[in-house]
């Protein structure tokens, strides 16, 4: 990665493309504003520096200028807002979770992620459920919905590659959904200060093909995690 780069790292979920697009739009707009404003500033510093015989112009303002720059700024922010609404609804909207999403339950706690899998029957809350520590296994191109909670303090479920983040709050059960688009290994980190082990509250994320996942699931049938 080039240190001064404003490019985002590669995304690996259906959300990434949409979220990254908004980013690049904002980057363009703010980038243009940055160069215009800072550029004007530098030009003024040079052009209007005090020199012998130079007098400042006795101007108090310009209503037209005020109206212009106020409207341009206001219109720009409205556009950004309008663009952002549908993407926010898609990711966080209560009604946006696909009906066929594979269910998982994640209990965040100091300082581990306990992931409960539905087992072969695909249903949570049945006898074939099993729990793993710090391992999240999902299937590529399949929507997955996590029921997220915490048993002690606030943590935050953050998978940078998926552009996904949701605080895990004690007393709340929050549904988080996503659809991975790339097979591979990724990382899940905690993004809310949760105590002395916060920096190390990490889980391994594995995105499988369907066949791979089925094979892995069969291997897990004897798995009983300690509590």
């Amino acid at each position: 990665m080039h240190w001064l780069s404003w490019m985002l790292p590669p995304g690996a979920s259906t959300f990434a493309g949409k979220i990254d697009f908004i980013y690049y739009v904002i980057l363009t707009i703010t980038g243009v504003a940055f160069f215009l404003v800072e550029g004007a500033l530098v030009v003024f510093l040079v052009k209007y520096r005090a020199r012998a015989g130079r007098k400042a112009e006795y101007i108090h303002g310009s209503t037209r200028a005020e109206i212009t720059w106020t409207s341009v700024t206001a219109v720009t922010v409205v556009v950004l807002g309008v663009m952002s609404v549908p993407v926010w609804n898609l990711v966080k909207g209560r009604n946006s979770v696909p009906a066929d999403a594979m269910p998982l339950a994640i209990q965040a706690q100091q300082f581990e992620w306990h992931v409960t899998y539905p087992g072969k029957d695909g249903q949570l809350g049945t006898a074939d459920d099993f729990e793993l520590r710090n391992q999240l296994h999902v299937v590529v191109n399949r929507p997955t919905v996590v029921m997220l909670t915490s048993i002690d303090v606030i943590h935050s479920f953050f998978v940078p590659a998926w552009r996904l983040k949701q605080d895990a709050v004690p007393g709340l059960h929050i549904r988080v959904w996503f659809q991975p688009t790339e097979v591979g290994e990724f990382e899940l980190g905690c993004a809310e200060l949760c105590g002395l082990g916060h920096y190390r509250m990490r889980a391994q994320v594995t995105v499988h093909t369907q066949e791979d996942y089925d094979r892995w699931l069969a291997e897990q049938s004897q798995n009983v995690a300690i509590r």
Binding site: K55, A56, R163, I174, G189
Partner: protein
């Protein structure tokens, strides 16, 4: 004659022999100028302490697990063998933020300049309530001592972030910190009292004690900003106090406000804290904007461009600041629909800030720019604030905030507005009003050296944090190398840390300039910057009681390069043949 003038003259001690004892003059003083200087000393000490804590954090981030040079002085409970423990790192994060927000920037802007400038710039002999003013300082100093005490108790200082989210902050079992968190709460309750007393004073003084002719629209923008800020303080601080009292009760007497198992609500803390917290960040920038305006007009020898717009922008920011708090909570688990509404209000608050930036540019346009040290810092303030403001647009968009919330992108934004913004404006303001406070000039040469070193190193530290955030680098993590996706960023962390050490070291120049100029600086005349405002019409420093005679004001403070006079400045109280006496003011105005 106006009632106000008579009242002001009765209060004025100027011209009489000052019979106060040393204790009454310098320690338990009711003179707003002395109180302002007391706040200045206290705040600069906390600024230095807050910076020191940050240096320890940056050492650990740049060189994880390596012993800090000289770290063996730290006790085993903090850094055995000089290597920071994770819980001590969390305390450093917490106390750095707490010191800087509550005991450095806020008192510097509000306690120092609110106190020092308001009576002088409105033509009053002192504040409306001088003894309450004195109490406000000593209460703040007590709060500072309580906050420092956290480092000395078992379990260490508070470690749940300056935002102190529950349940971590209220459960010693989870945080490992018991008394330290309680002291944090007590300190803020005490500090809150100080702030409220100060705010009452400022608001009353500005409304009631303006000199004849000092109408609202002839007030300097620094005063407008301090006035609106004082209203924000008066309304917001009690919310913090209430929230912190609830937290303290949960910690000590068995209430369950924020504990879900017993019927409490975890998110309630965040709503209360940020309902205070967002107005707080405008408290932390508005006075800086106001003072920068005064300095930029002076350095440009030109009236402020769009004075009325600037006033309405200050009021607009003050008002809109109340309805954006949820943007700190987009990912918190609150109803996502609230995210939409807060996004809209947050995007709108960009508008008045942008208006101010354009008006500062407009002020410099076609001016004749004199780059004295305050002007250099004020221009840098504008340049850095633009970056901070623009970075805010990214996080205002709720979907992009999903990615950058709680990453270093946010840390970059905070520091561009608070350091690049407020602190540069403070360097400008301290240098500018130093002659009025101490009767001496700070060294311009060392001021310029300090300025350039700070500007360069500051950007080396904080600009790359945008990149860290864009790569997903989380906040408040003790050792980034625990994550594979962060390991490639480690050289950037190292670079930032080294730049931070150089930045911190450069501040020694400012500290020395400040201290040595007090005793050895060139003696200051009454108006070294050729400014129009009222404080520059009296000696440096002004006498106790400020004005030998109550001034009368005929114009605003930005009449630079006026065609009516040959000099390029025209003081507010200078009567020209064409000026009429101000209308008699009814009692109470």
């Amino acid at each position: 004659m106006a009632t106000t003038a008579a009242t002001v003259d009765q209060l004025s001690h100027a011209g009489h022999v000052d019979t106060r004892s040393f204790l009454r003059k310098y320690i338990f003083s009711t003179d707003h100028k002395t109180i302002g200087i007391q706040f200045l000393i206290m705040s600069l000490v906390f600024l230095a302490l807050g910076g020191t804590l940050a240096m320890m954090m940056r050492w650990q981030l740049g060189f994880p697990g390596r012993p800090i040079p000289g770290g063996s002085v730290l006790p085993e409970t903090m850094a055995p063998g000089g290597v920071l423990l994770p819980e001590f790192y969390n305390s450093l994060v917490t106390m750095h933020g707490t010191f800087m927000v509550f005991f450095a920037i806020m008192p510097l802007l509000v306690g120092v300049f609110g106190n020092f400038l308001i009576p002088l710039k409105i033509g009053a002999p002192d504040m409306a309530f001088p003894r309450i003013n004195m109490a406000s300082f000593w209460v703040a100093a007590s709060a500072g001592i309580i906050m420092l005490a956290g480092f000395l108790v078992e379990g260490g200082a508070a470690g749940a972030g300056w935002t102190s989210y529950a349940p971590l902050s209220e459960t010693a079992e989870y945080s490992g910190v018991s008394l330290g968190q309680q002291l944090w709460c007590v300190s803020l309750i005490v500090l809150g009292l100080s702030s409220i007393l100060g705010a009452l004073n400022y608001i009353t003084t500005v409304i009631n004690m303006r000199a004849p002719g000092m109408t609202w629209f002839r007030l300097p923008l620094s005063i407008w900003a301090l006035f609106i800020t004082a209203i924000l303080v008066l309304l917001a601080i009690p919310i913090l106090s209430g929230a912190v009292i609830m937290l303290l009760f949960d910690q000590t007497i068995g209430t369950h406000f924020f504990q879900p198992a017993a019927g409490g609500q975890v998110l309630l803390w965040q709503h209360l804290f940020w309902f205070f917290g967002h107005p707080e960040v405008y408290i932390l920038i508005l006075p800086a904007m106001g003072m920068a305006s005064d300095i930029i007009a002076n350095g440009s020898r030109k009236p402020i461009f769009g004075y009325e717009s600037m006033v309405f922008a200050i009021i607009g920011i003050g008002f809109l600041g109340w309805v954006v708090w949820g943007h700190h909570m987009f990912q918190s688990g609150m109803n996502p629909t609230l995210g939409q509404t807060f996004m809209i209000s947050t995007l709108f608050i960009a508008v008045p800030s942008a208006i101010k930036v354009f008006n500062w540019l407009g002020t410099m346009w076609r001016g004749t720019l004199h780059f004295h040290v305050p002007m250099m810092h004020a221009v840098a303030f504008v340049a850095m604030f633009v970056i901070g403001g623009l970075s805010g647009v990214f996080m205002a968009s709720t979907p992009f905030d999903i990615y950058i919330h709680d990453t270093y992108f946010i840390v970059a934004h905070i520091h561009y507005v608070l350091f690049g913004g407020s602190l540069f404006a403070l360097f400008a303001s301290i240098t500018y009003w130093y002659p009025k406070m101490f009767g001496r000039m700070m060294s311009p040469f060392w001021g310029k050296v300090h300025f350039w070193l700070t500007l360069v190193f500051y950007n080396c530290v904080f600009f790359p944090m945008h990149q860290l955030g864009l790569h997903g680098h989380m906040r408040r993590i003790y050792d980034p190398t625990q994550y594979d996706f962060l390991k490639p960023l480690q050289p950037l962390n190292e670079f930032i840390s080294i730049a931070a050490f150089l930045l911190f070291a450069s501040q020694a120049i400012f500290a020395l300039n400040f201290i040595l100029s007090w005793f050895f600086g060139a003696k200051a005349e009454a108006n070294p910057w050729k400014d129009n405002a009222l404080e520059w019409t009296v000696s440096s420093p002004p006498p106790h009681g400020n004005f030998p005679e109550t001034p009368t004001v005929y114009r605003g403070p930005y009449e630079y390069s006026s065609p009516e006079v040959s000099e390029d400045y025209l003081p507010q109280n200078k009567r020209l043949p064409t000026d009429r006496a101000p209308a008699p003011q009814p009692a109470g105005h």
